[in-house]
């Protein structure tokens, strides 16, 4: 009964995703028709996916389905268990929220030279691809849907391709996405060599020799790491995410990166299921590196969407720290600690999906209303766009890991699992884990600085440009999308136990232990290990804050000053006339931390004086990783290919000869 139910909803959601990309083609130039068919079908797809995934999560059932695949003598098979249901829930939740946002947001693209159809066609297929990756149960299906996801997102990134920067970003993205696909395929290939069958079921039954297990882990880590944006494989991310339309950036940053995390979890904990502490350590170190590097780069950015993209790298780093901790504890047979770390990582996946989509949608709303991407040209938007300001503020508070909001819960859980390091025997490992916890704290504090900057520069102060001065309110449907996401930020922060419960069951299946009895004591208190070890009750803290806030307010209200308040000009040291140019800028705000962590970039500062009246200050921060590795690699590649291009003589006889010799060579290989 339940299987049929799941099957129907699953099929319906996939079919709607396909239709949402194909059906708008029939509308051709009717913009409203395109937007309406696309969003309604996408909404249906999201809602039905959300329903079946939540039903699967609550009832712990599984569902599988397969079609014959004659080409490879195997089958296209999909399998839905609680892990994939959780990720389907993330994808569909964000899709449902984004759907409200699309019609009004796309209005600004109606008059552009590119057809909306490109956006709707590839957008629908992109979401279909993500669903299928999470559902895939054999290598062929996985790789095919992975490629579908990568290729369609390439077309979405290059939507506004008359801009050179966008084409460049798309190119880098395409290369990196394919490298990622290649590494993942190789990683799977190693396991297939031993299992003799591309289905994931037979993978789970095979045990690899140690060295091959390590090799396949490394390949998969690189592959999924590229797609997730781990430093130093992150270069595509800050290029590709800012140039896509905002709702696509929200999906890419909020959801697509999570699909890569899903792949990694599935690969390591389900398929490979041989975990060594050295591997965990590598994951932990690269996670910490990404977290700190990502947030420091985010702090110095002035382009709002690029800043958010860098902050995604930071959050992916935190997720990988959780995964690394889980792997270390797992290999040390500390399974309860491994369970908590895995829950923390999964929780952060959900949280990051919610608040990062919220922030990207907010950035899109700002860019639609002010036509600005640069923080230095925003300001004072809290007066012009009050609703967007509140939702954006909630997003900023969540991403900065502040208590009462959802980001804090997952970082708190990660820190709690790091504290379990005292269970480990190895002293060096314990030291490293505790230092990792310190880097999480550093990351959180820097993220707070970064998002104080974002909110303070964009929404507070005086407008820094004509557009910002004339911005007006966002459309109500865009506000709904952001409002729903913001309320999820608060809900997941205040009632962590419900999510924790579900994630506990998913993780206990992956780790292979029963859930400890003392884990889920109370709906009010979040108690990961034992009540006297650590406890956190967001609701109690909220009640206390509200109580004291109320008391403070009453106290302030009862005070009757001698004279009534008057409105005055801010303090200007007696020089008079403060204007928007005398405010602190985004560059200036980041300056102290830029100076402290200056070694990370190639910083060049130029001060040019045109005449006595105008002085220009130009600051460039160059990514050392890009300069020292990727730029050189690119140069080397183009030099080599130029050399190799000599064989392209252009005469048909030469090509016939190549074909002939290749055929001979292949025949020789086979024989």
């Amino acid at each position: 009964m339940l299987e049929n139910f799941t099957g129907i909803f699953l099929g319906f959601s996939l079919a709607c995703a396909v239709l949402s990309s194909v059906a708008p083609l029939c509308c051709w130039k009717n913009f409203n028709g395109i937007k309406l068919t696309h969003t309604i079908l996408l909404g249906f797809s999201g809602v039905s996916a959300l329903i079946y995934s939540i039903v699967t999560l609550v009832t712990h059932t599984s569902y599988q389905f397969s079609l014959p695949n004659n080409l490879f003598h195997c089958s296209w098979s999909i399998y839905l268990d609680s892990l994939s249901a959780f990720f389907i829930a993330i994808i569909s939740l964000i899709t449902c929220c984004v759907v409200f946002y699309i019609p009004s947001y796309l209005r600004k693209h109606e008059q552009s030279r590119q057809s909306l159809l490109q956006l709707t066609f590839f957008g629908g297929l992109f979401i279909l691809g993500m669903y299928l990756v999470v559902l895939a149960n054999d290598v062929i299906t996985f790789i095919a849907s992975w490629e579908l996801m990568s290729l369609t997102s390439y077309f979405l990134v290059t939507y506004q391709h008359n801009n050179t920067e966008n084409r460049n970003a798309g190119f880098v993205y395409l290369i990196m996405a394919h490298l990622s696909g290649l590494f993942i395929l190789l990683g799977f290939g190693v396991i297939t060599k031993f299992s003799h069958d591309p289905s994931f079921l037979s993978f789970q039954a095979t045990t690899l020799p140690t060295n091959w297990a390590v090799i396949s882990f490394v390949l998969a880590f690189i592959g999924f790491g590229i797609k997730a944006g781990l430093v130093p494989l992150h270069v595509w991310l800050p290029k590709a995410h800012p140039v896509a339309p905002s709702h696509i950036s929200a999906l890419m940053s909020g959801v697509m990166l999570k699909v890569a995390i899903y792949g990694f979890i599935r690969f390591v904990f389900c398929l490979l299921h041989q975990i060594y502490w050295q591997e965990g350590l590598v994951v932990l170190l690269f996670g910490s590196l990404s977290a700190v590097f990502g947030v420091l780069c985010a702090l110095t950015q002035n382009n709002l969407k690029r800043l958010l993209a860098y902050s995604s790298i930071e959050n992916i780093g935190i997720i990988f720290i959780g995964l690394g901790l889980s792997m270390i504890f797992f290999s040390a047979q500390q399974k309860v600690a491994a369970l908590i770390a895995l829950i923390a990582a999964l929780y952060h996946c959900l949280n990051h999906a919610v608040f990062k989509s919220l922030l990207f949608l907010g950035a899109g709303a700002i860019s639609q209303r002010t036509h600005e991407h640069d923080l230095e040209r925003m300001g004072g938007l809290i007066h012009r766009m009050p609703y967007t300001a509140i939702t954006f503020l909630i997003g900023c508070l969540s991403i900065s890991a502040l208590p009462l909001f959802n980001g804090f819960v997952s970082e708190w859980l990660t820190l709690q699992s790091a504290l379990q390091a005292m269970l480990l025997q190895d002293g060096i490992m314990r030291t490293l884990i505790i230092i990792t916890a310190a880097t999480i704290a550093l990351t959180g504090a820097l993220a707070a600085a970064c998002f104080v900057k974002v909110f303070g520069i964009a929404f507070l102060g005086k407008p820094r440009s004509r557009h910002a001065r004339r911005a007006n309110c966002t459309k109500i449907d865009m506000q709904i999308a952001m409002g729903v996401l913001a309320s999820f930020c608060i809900l997941f922060g205040l009632f962590p136990n419900f999510v924790f419960d579900i994630l506990g069951k998913i993780s206990s299946k992956l780790i292979g232990i029963a859930i400890p009895n003392n884990l889920f004591t109370n709906w009010l208190w979040l108690v990961p290990t034992a009540p006297h070890n650590a406890s956190y009750s967001a609701l109690a803290i909220l009640l206390l804050v509200v109580g004291t806030l109320f008391a403070t307010y009453i106290f302030g209200y009862l005070l009757k000053p001698i004279k009534p308040a008057v409105v005055v000009r801010p303090w200007d040291c007696g020089f008079g006339a403060l204007n928007s140019r005398t405010q602190y800028t985004s560059t200036a705000f980041a300056m102290p931390l830029r100076r402290v962590f200056g070694g990370l970039w190639n910083i060049t500062e130029e001060i040019t004086q045109e005449n006595s009246a105008k002085t220009f200050y130009k600051l460039t921060l160059a990514d050392r990783i890009w300069q020292s590795f990727y730029a050189r690699l690119g140069k080397f590649m183009s030099a080599t290919t130029k050399y190799l291009a000599k064989i392209q003589s252009g005469s048909i006889r030469a090509y016939l000869a190549y074909m002939f010799f290749t055929l001979l060579f292949l025949l020789w290989v086979i024989a």
Partner: protein, 318 residues
């Protein structure tokens, strides 16, 4: 149910304790400082008079401020009060706590987030400057503060501050003399100077806008808003003093709810806080304020001390 009621009672008593005594501690620090500088000191009750003056004074509302500016003093104040309930004061309550040391650090960060936003709300250069500097200092101080709590948590097997304190009271002499604790004690002392905005990191009595950090952020506040912020700053100072005195010297803290033990522990805690004030004043008297970009070195030393603490904990003490 009864357990819950006592917890509520302890929380309320603790909040009142902090509310009532924070200005007194500020007055004591000022008195000691004046004595050190050979000046005649104001009355120890001067902060109460100042607060009273501020609360009754006319408020100047600044042109162009948003709701963030007016909400921040209340939010800041209430969050600091909630943070007070997480720190074991003069009653030790080891039952289920609403938050642990990490939540405490998080609440301080939340209060700071709003204060920094309020600094940027008006759009003056000073506010932005103060916010930017404050966020830099806190970003470098927070990892050390968390590491301090982590080392203690690893010792006590719990990150709940009350349980850490009760663990230490159960050792012989009620004090924990281990190399790691000496390192993190020094580190916490340095972090306290940074977090409460004292010399050498920031100067609370400065009148030069360009050298301000905390004061620059709140430059535009006046009247009752300023009063709340000043009171909040005094509470934050007291919070850190209570942390230092109770985490490292938890003598006399009441673990049972009898009147005599509570009165005793109240007196002992006040004595410890006054001693703590003298120590801070001594440090302030012998040091000069550092340049802003020397502050990261100061905080790096605090972090290095924490690392030494971890290493000695893991190498020698397990």
């Amino acid at each position: 149910m009864g357990d819950c009621m006592t917890t509520m009672l302890i929380i309320i008593i603790q909040i009142i304790f902090f509310l009532a005594l924070a200005p007194l501690l500020a007055g004591w620090i000022k008195c000691c400082k004046c004595y050190m500088q050979n000046r005649s000191a104001p009355s120890i009750l001067q902060p109460y008079k100042d607060l009273n003056k501020l609360f009754l004074k006319q408020t100047l509302q600044v042109d162009g401020a948003s709701w963030i500016f007016y909400a921040t003093p209340c939010i800041l104040f209430s969050i600091l009060l909630v943070a007070c309930t997480l720190v074991p004061g003069f009653i030790l309550n080891t039952s289920l706590n609403i938050g642990d040391a990490i939540v405490f650090v998080g609440l301080l960060a939340l209060a700071r987030f709003f204060l920094a936003l309020a600094g940027m709300d008006i759009g003056t250069a000073f506010g932005g400057m103060g916010s930017s500097r404050e966020m830099m200092i806190s970003a470098l101080a927070e990892p050390s503060l968390l590491l301090i709590f982590f080392i203690m948590a690893m010792k006590a097997g719990s990150s709940n501050l009350s349980i850490i304190v009760s663990y230490i009271t159960q050792t012989s002499f009620g004090i924990y003399i281990y190399p790691s604790f000496i390192f993190i004690f020094l580190s916490l002392l340095m972090i306290t100077l940074a977090e409460t905005g004292r010399i050498p990191v920031d100067n609370p009595t400065t009148h030069l806008e360009l050298t301000m950090t905390h004061e620059a952020m709140i430059l535009e506040y006046s009247g009752k808003y300023l009063g709340l912020i000043e009171w909040g700053a005094q509470i934050k100072t007291m919070l850190f003093f209570v942390l230092i005195s109770n985490l490292f010297f938890p003598w006399g803290i009441a673990s049972s709810l009898t009147l005599t033990s509570i009165m005793l522990s109240l007196c002992v805690l006040c004595g410890k806080l006054f001693l703590c004030g003298i120590v801070i004043v001594l440090i302030e008297a012998v040091l000069a304020k550092m340049r802003l970009f020397k502050a990261p070195y100061f905080l790096c030393i605090a972090f290095a001390l924490c690392l030494l603490g971890i290493l000695s904990h893991i190498l020698f003490e397990t």
